[in-house]
Symmetry: C2
Subunit: 153 residues, 2 copies
DNA sequence: GTCGATGCAAAGAATTTGCAGGACC
DNA sequence: GGTCCTGCAAATTCTTTGCATCGAC
């Protein structure tokens, strides 16, 4: 759980130190929670984890920190489903990129990776007249548990 | 602009007639606007187009109609960027599926299609333990115009 | 005439902004 | 000691819900 999250945390704190005027405690705590949890959290979830750790932070600071991290390219906001937007970690150097699987019944969100798919996406991006910086693929359907259960369970 | 939008409109009205108790005028007008515009609209944009056509409809009715159409599998809500959700038309019978290109500078949204990419996505979906019903790929980056212009232009 | 469809207005959820006080260099 | 950071609260944006009325069957 702290595997590549730890890498990301260190990298993010470095970038932050290099681009920010003063190192406040709230922002640092937010980065640490994101790294420890591996990202894919909503703003509310970040605040909740911080509360659990005995380091409560105001929602405004959470949103401001997430916005700053997004501007620095350290996280990527991903609007999934109709709920609040989630923030994925961006790997330091073109590391693994994951995609999202959402269950329409139970709402569960699962990340997944697929090398062949990734390559096809890169090729498709290169064919476009845009300069593509980022992509996300979301699959919606039923997770194994929910597709086994009868409708309206 | 009324090409496959016309097909969709007819199909959607049929499905609606078959599954709805009473045929109100507002819902019908909303379906017609969606078909004529080719989808990819926000709720606000739907209401705006209806006003322009001299057939104003309350926002609540727009949202209720869009929710119903989504339940019937006629449209698909697509949360793009941080703005309001957009509603894509769902082709009657596994027709063309398009993906989205978003410019991070000007915010413009462009749909695109790519057969090879589509095939790779289908294969990847089949490899997953989920029953995949739908997918969307979003590319973010800079459109040709914005990538030509200097930063902060 | 009944019951669903519609629209207004109020409520609700998610996010942003304004401002006063506290923390860092 | 000045300036950025933080957090509360109010404002904004997007969406849903309650309720009285209108219209289709």
């Amino acid at each position: 759980m702290a595997g590549d999250g730890g890498d990301w945390t260190r990298h993010a704190l470095d970038v932050l130190d290099a681009s920010v005027q003063r190192a406040g405690g709230a922002r640092r705590a937010i980065v640490e929670v994101l790294g420890a949890e591996g990202g894919c959290l909503t703003a509310d979830e970040v605040a909740e984890r911080l509360r659990e750790r005995g380091r409560p932070v105001g929602m405004a600071s959470v949103y401001r920190a997430l916005t700053l991290l997004a501007e620095l390219g350290l996280v990527q906001p991903v609007p999934i489903g109709q709920g609040p937007v989630r923030y994925d970690l961006v790997a330091p150097s073109g590391g693994h990129h994951h995609h999202h699987l959402v269950c329409d019944r139970c709402g569960r969100l699962a990340p997944f990776m697929d090398g062949e798919l990734e390559a096809a996406i890169e090729r498709a991006g290169a064919r476009l007249p845009y300069r593509v910086d980022w992509h996300d693929l979301t699959f919606r359907g039923l997770c194994p548990t929910c597709s086994r259960a009868p409708r309206r369970g």
